[in-house]
């Protein structure tokens, strides 16, 4: 079920009202919210609910077993088995085809017949997100950062519908404590919730989908049909599209959770104002960055084992982070590029510091270059696209609305954070009734810009 659809517009008000009605009776509220979340998930494909339930039970069993023993080797072993099973599930659904095809290609080049059976496996929506959250629960229990919760609390944590399909990746220690007691019905951030939902809708439907439809999809579909200026413009447009699409989803998810009394971690902080790659990853998909840092980079040794090992750790973390987005060499190279930039930045530490404007300019343009890799379906198309940028041609894709959308997305991120934050908070403190009327009007306007084919899925749904 997509957020900006009629189905969800019917689903959410009913669930919200029942949720607050049942909230004081936690014994009723908890099964209710699990059922509601599974209904939400079943709209994509009911079979995937079995997978979600299996991941929940597996990690809960592991967490209980870890907690029951003080033997460190045993705790490590159980954690390792649980994480391996989680990653195995993710691998089977997400990467099997990629690896089978690459192994077959390799064997074919050596004149050997294929050995791996080819299977066409449907990718369960949100699997990358809920398996990471499950890993975070099990590992946090092992690290004693969180006590094992009841099975129903774990089921809520993994299935809670606002974050189920595309995050943010909420850590167990951030969410499970919120389930320990009923949410306070007298302290709800209604204004912030409504404001974020409105902002998310505008970002997704009015900006991301528009830029995708009019600029990005045509240029990345057949780059041969466009000259250099168009391809360059489309690369910047994609930077704006992917930011608005993903942060728009996150805004809606956080807003919905707020209306239900829950708080999710922040996932974006004006990423295109970053003045370096470390800065970028502190602002872009922050919950994934934290996950990779805490569960991969630091366990690998972080920056504590010498310079060369630090570079290796950065590269390994970012390449795997790239692969997390999908089974394709373009994602691997995208991660590798970010890993290289982080390593170069690390190596440059302590030397001459360039003015912030220059650092911003270089970072932003390198990030946009990497987005071309990210958006290209394969390496050959990437190369066609990239070399096409250096050819002449017209600028036919840069229509007035497209340029305006692009400048708004990039420009607004350069406004001082205190100013934009102040405006945001001012709006979020307005009367909920006033905000509700404004949001209804906004939905009507946004709805009018949706083509008859409907709203395309969020980009991060396929990751």
């Amino acid at each position: 079920m997509l957020f900006p659809t009629v189905q969800f517009a019917i689903f959410f008000p009913i669930v919200l009202a029942l949720s607050w009605a049942l909230m004081p009776k936690q014994r009723l509220w908890k099964p209710f919210i699990v059922v509601a979340s599974y209904v939400f998930y079943a709209a994509a494909d009911p079979r995937f609910c079995i997978l979600l339930a299996a991941v929940t039970l597996l990690n809960q069993a592991a967490a209980k077993a870890i907690h029951a023993t003080e033997n460190q080797r045993r705790r490590k072993l159980i954690t390792g088995v649980a994480v391996a099973l989680d990653l195995g599930l993710l691998g089977a659904f997400k990467y099997y085809g990629f690896f089978a095809q690459n192994v077959d290609d390799l064997l074919n080049t050596w004149g050997l017949s294929p050995t791996a059976p080819l299977l066409s496996i449907a990718l369960p929506v949100g699997i990358s997100f809920f398996t990471f959250q499950a890993i975070s629960y099990t590992v946090d229990v092992k690290r004693r950062l969180v006590e094992p919760a009841s099975t129903i609390d774990v089921a809520i944590y993994l299935s809670f519908f606002p974050h189920l399909v595309a995050g943010p990746i909420v850590r167990a220690r951030e969410f499970i404590p919120q389930l320990q007691s009923a949410r306070d019905p007298e302290h709800v951030a209604v204004g912030a919730g409504l404001g974020l939902i409105g902002l998310g809708l505008v970002k997704k439907v009015m900006i991301a989908d528009y830029l995708g439809r009019v600029v990005v999809d045509p240029a990345f579909g057949v780059p041969q049909a466009y000259g250099g200026p168009d391809l360059l413009f489309a690369a910047y447009a994609y930077a704006a599209q992917i930011y608005c699409d993903f942060s728009g989803y996150t805004d809606i998810a956080i807003g919905l959770a707020l209306l239900m009394g829950f708080i999710f971690p922040q996932n974006f902080r004006s990423p295109y104002r970053a003045t370096g790659f470390r800065d970028f990853w502190r602002r872009w998909h922050m919950t994934l960055s934290r996950f990779l840092r805490d569960f991969l980079y630091i366990p690998l040794g972080g920056n504590r084992k010498g310079r060369l090992r630090t570079y290796f750790n950065l590269m390994a973390t970012m390449v795997l982070g790239g692969l997390w987005h999908g089974a394709s060499w373009t994602f691997v190279l995208w991660g590798g590029f970010h890993g290289s930039m982080l390593s170069i930045e690390h190596a440059w530490d302590g030397r001459r510091r360039f003015p912030a404007a220059i650092r911003w300019f270089v970072t932003f343009n390198l990030v946009v270059f990497a987005w071309i890799l990210f958006r290209s379906p394969d390496l050959s198309l990437f190369w066609t696209y990239f070399t096409g940028i250096f050819h002449g041609g017209s600028l036919s894709l840069a229509t007035f609305p497209a340029v305006l959308a692009l400048l708004a997305v990039i420009g607004l991120q350069l406004v001082p954070e205190r100013t934009s934050h102040g405006i945001e908070v001012g709006i979020e403190r307005l009367s909920p009734i006033l905000l509700a009327v404004a949001l209804a009007a906004l939905i009507l306007v946004v709805g009018a810009t949706v083509p008859s084919q409907g709203v395309p899925p969020f980009i991060y749904f396929r990751f």
Partner: protein, 350 residues
Amino acid sequence: MPPENAPRKPARDDSLMQRFDEQRLRRFSARDAVLATALIAFLLLIFSGGSVKRAGEELNPGVGRDVVLAVGKPAAWVAEQLPFAQIGHTLTGWLSPDQKLVGLGFEEGSATGAGAAAGKGPSPVTPEWFDGRELGEEAPRPKLTKLLVTGDSLSTPLDIELGQRLTPDGVEVIREPHLATGISRSDVVDWGKLSATQVAEDHPQAVVIFIGANEGLPMPGPGGEEVSCCGPEWAAIWANRARQMMENYIQGGRAKLYWLTVPAARDPARKPIVDAVNAAVDAAAAPFRSSVRVVDMNSVFTPGDEFRDAMEIDGQETIVREPDGIHLNKEGSALAAEIVEEELDRDFTP
């Protein structure tokens, strides 16, 4: 040092979980949240109740559709009794990104089959019923300069594949997939009008259409009654609609149309739909064989109507279908594009 089994303190709050408290934004009540949401739902119903019903009608049969229609039908009725929907449409209608369609829709055109039902008798066979190439005719092969690739979701990434193959040869490839549409679901888009509009706007020299993923919906018959899929009556209505589109696309014989049949789907429940659609395409094309090429995808991807995920391409077993068991994936679309290109080469100079 804390004891080994004591819970550790998290390092720092880098997820900004306190941000709403710090700004004192949790200042409202749950009642405000429910009231605000109810107010939004109410305003949307009175201003746009009809769109809930339309959205329900566009969904595939199932519980989801029933629920949306259970809300949408009364909502549409309420919205019709009030002036707000019209006001809303006047204020926001100009924002619609949809093309302004021209030409006749299926209901006004020849697609209902009403002419045949009225006893006009069979139309005479003309030379256009024959593919001259099959009768040894040497037709001139002009240079292809403009190609339209269209259809429902089946037509993508075929459109991209054709674009990437033909653009370097100087062919302008217009890619126009209309996702979630269907010939039997003219509530989303009326392909009768859409095909006329595409021709009026683009004047393509050749058209490739791949459609059939969203078919199987009931359609009004010649007498206005609803005809369910997938018997001869339904196939006849679908064929009449397809024929109206073919007439539009071939522009009086000035353009060639390449209509791809639908390969079998994994779900056996879809077999009657696919069979009816493919039979209807064949019947619809009969009077236009000189201009309409029916390109058989079924025998390529699913010989003997047997679904398969993978097939041998260039000596290598390759997955050609998406996991949904309906669409062709990138590799499958590349193969389909190769077949279409061969067909194009028979009519046009590359």
